[in-house]
């Protein structure tokens, strides 16, 4: 039951409903967002494993800490699940290798921000804000494709098109994919899939969504493809976007709710083995954002166990195998050997297919139940 006299968790959902209905957000409600996020950061500091995250009152809602000569800004509600050292440094170094421009902010995204409480990850997700001229993108991607030391670029995805190695066509094809014919529209967002060597997690499928953004108008069209509330920003400067937009927060909650429904749909459940886990992660993110910790904590306790975390290990291996299959033979060979090594180093047997299926069924039931609660809260918040 919702506790009192806390600030009510229905507030953010009321905003979401207003935005969904096309109603304007009032100034007092905007101020309410700032008050709540500021207080959340003040009480939520030093909840990371190292006790290093401190409130950044200049950027309300964010906590920050220094890592590898940069600053990492973390939305306050993610602090209790955010990873500490040395894992964080490992992830930041991975982000550096993925980044197309070392001066750009790059964000840890999605379940990567939960690594403080999760025993393992099936992949690493990043989002780079490409703030320099988009004309430089094809060359930057080509340069990244030539790197093979810490990891290797496997796929370049833009719109519905996918480019793979060999990359000889990249300089000519990429501009056509990135830029509209009229030259008026901003460059399209794109996704880079890598196989990356990480020191602690081993070989990992890693994805970076690159958003070409105008630094003078950062909330341009491409910004809608990322949500600051699920991103920890790694930057040498300040976080490029604010957490205090009531509309963006509302859109984030609406997107989460829709995405949970989508992952729980019959088609996704049938097509994607991990669909229930993805749905569960989304609904937990939603509940964590609105402040329903009472529902989140017991779920994290079970999901963070080594046994349940291993259920998605098979997906990670399958993902890596498929990615390595797309790399040219000579480059892929050492990665294939490392994958064998990763499997052979497992200290225990993986869950059986039956146990995996049962765990996925449990995740689906849990996500459906929690979505039921979210739906009730949305309805009650009217």
């Amino acid at each position: 039951m919702v506790a009192s006299p806390s600030l009510d968790p229905f507030f953010f959902l009321r905003l979401a409903r207003a935005v969904a209905d096309g109603r304007a957000v009032s100034d007092p409600d905007r101020a309410g967002v700032a008050t709540r996020l500021t207080a959340r950061a003040a009480v939520g500091a030093r909840r990371d494993p190292d006790g290093e995250l401190v409130a950044d009152f200049e950027h309300p809602g964010y906590l920050k800490r220094a890592v590898e000569n940069r600053t990492v800004f973390v939305p306050a509600h993610l602090a209790p699940v955010f990873p500490g050292m040395p894992l964080l440094a490992d992830v930041v170094r991975t982000a550096d290798r993925l980044s197309l421009n070392a001066g750009h902010p790059i964000c840890l995204s999605g379940s990567t921000t939960f690594l403080g409480r999760s025993h393992s990850a099936s992949d690493l997700d990043f989002c780079e804000y490409f703030l320099t001229s988009p004309q430089a993108i094809p060359d930057a991607v080509a340069a990244k494709a030539a790197e093979t030391s810490g990891g290797v670029l496997v796929r370049f995805k833009c719109g519905g098109d996918v480019l793979k190695a060999p990359w000889c066509d990249l300089p000519t094809v990429a501009p056509d994919l990135l830029f509209a014919d009229d030259g008026e529209q901003p460059a399209r967002r794109f996704k880079l899939d890598f196989v990356q060597r990480t020191q602690i997690l081993g070989l990992m499928p890693s994805t970076s969504v690159v958003l070409p953004l105008d630094p003078d108008s950062i909330e341009g069209p491409n910004a809608r493809f990322s949500f600051v509330y699920q991103e920890a920003v790694i930057t040498s400067g300040v976080p490029p976007r604010s957490l205090l937009s009531a509309e963006r927060l509302a859109h984030y909650l609406l997107w989460l709710r829709g995405d949970v429904r989508s992952w729980l749909g019959e088609q996704k459940i049938a097509d994607v083995t991990e669909a229930p886990l993805k749905a569960l992660k989304r609904v937990l993110s939603l509940l964590l954002t609105v402040g329903r910790d009472d529902l989140v904590e017991p779920c994290i306790e079970v999901l963070s166990s080594e046994e349940i975390a291993d259920v998605s290990f098979g997906a990670r291996i399958a993902d890596l195998k498929a990615m390595i299959a797309d790399i040219d033979l000579e480059t892929g060979r050492p990665f294939l050997e490392e994958l064998d090594e990763l499997i052979s180093r497992l200290p225990h047997a993986l869950p059986t297919p039956t146990q995996c299926a049962e765990a996925l069924l449990g995740a689906r039931e849990l996500a459906e139940e929690l979505l039921g609660e979210v739906d009730l809260m949305f309805e009650a918040a009217a």
């Binding site: 806390s6 600030l7 229905f10 500021t38 939520g44 195998k321 033979l329």
Partner: protein, 482 residues
Amino acid sequence: MAITTELDDLIESILRMSPPTLGGADRARENLRAMPYASLQDMHSRLTAELERTRPDAEAAKARHELLLRRRGPKHPTTGVQGLARLKAVRDEICADRRALRVDQVSPAEPPQVVAIARPAVRFAGGGGSEPAPQTAATLRADPAEAQSPGDSWLHPLLIHGASNVGRLEPLQGSFAMRMVVGAFPHHRPAVVSVDESVLGVEEFQDVISHRIARLLEHSRVPESSAEDLSRSISTLLRNPVFEKYLQVHTASMMRDVLSLALTHHSTAASSSDYVAALMQRLRTRLRVPSSSTETTFLPERPSVVGEISAIDGFAKMIVRMREYAPECVVVLKGGGEIAGKLLERAYGGSARFVVHDPGGSAEVPRGRRSRCTSVLVVDDISRTGATMRRSLDSCRAAYGGASVRGMALVGTVESAEVLGDEAFFANLSPDVAIGVPWNTHGQYHATVKDHVLGFGKPDSLPIGKLLLTRAVGRLAAQSEG
């Protein structure tokens, strides 16, 4: 003191209004205590005002929420209780399995240790012998002289796998067979791999099969009321691990047969060329793999006892495969393995030395009179988790240093197949870890003039006609050689 009390009250009031995410109240108090008092007061006043401003909406929402919860009723919980219970049960089961595996794998004489699972699959590599010598990654790095041994893995047919290491397949590089495979699957790099690794190839076949089944349903006028159920059943089957294994083995067999036919055709057409004829002969030799007739049979989930036909057929397959492998020593595992081992010993016809080993005991594997043994076969009746077979294979490798060691059982489970990969051949594969054999496993083997009899007396015994078994073995051997 008064100030301290006032500060504490302020902090507690802030924490009531804005509790820390996921607990951590003590740390939150420390955080607030470290803030300037004026900032705290400002935060407190803003929160209080916000609480007052939104109180009517909050109370209304809370009341509506409670009403909606009551309407929904206890049958439809929204706290995640059902899903959590299932997840916890799975977690506990996996945890218990791991504890059991650790206990099972630690011999009394050794200190407890975490046991690594077997590599799930082993690649083929071109050896110098008359057939491709399957080797583990470890033996690939071993002394070349030792690479002449038959290897630790049972042969499986060919299949295409995009992620495989072609560098280990030199004998086939540039060959007609390789070019044919490349032509058939332009998007994948071909390789000779064990069935466990052939996921990509199988997925393609699986897609084709799913598509064909869907087409079949479309044309079968299934009533709308049943169509969804039927579709779901088939979808479940296609994702069943046993079915996947079945598909792997049988698509692999199909590929092998297609290649074999192609080679025969080419060999005939190119008979005028000595070079091509010699090359084809060499390829044919290298492609010599077990026939699909001696592949694993897949058992349904029910009944939980191997049928008599499957048992007899399984023994015949084991005998044919033993003859192909020609082990110099057969290590029979004490218990159920002894009953199966005795039958194999009587029906095998080779010159192998049979010894009994107790995998649960502390004694080393008996080596018999032959101290120099280059090929060893470990035999059991059932492999449920793969742990006993794994331990026995390792013990044999330690006892017969440098020898090729393989395992074999009348029936294995999907779980044990995953653990052992190609190191063990199972004549039958079952999804059920509680699978049983159609005779009393505490009995023994004995023979009459006509029958091999497994298990004591009746009804818990299985007589296998000697003539029947000999014929079955002969039939399989002929198919295998053909």
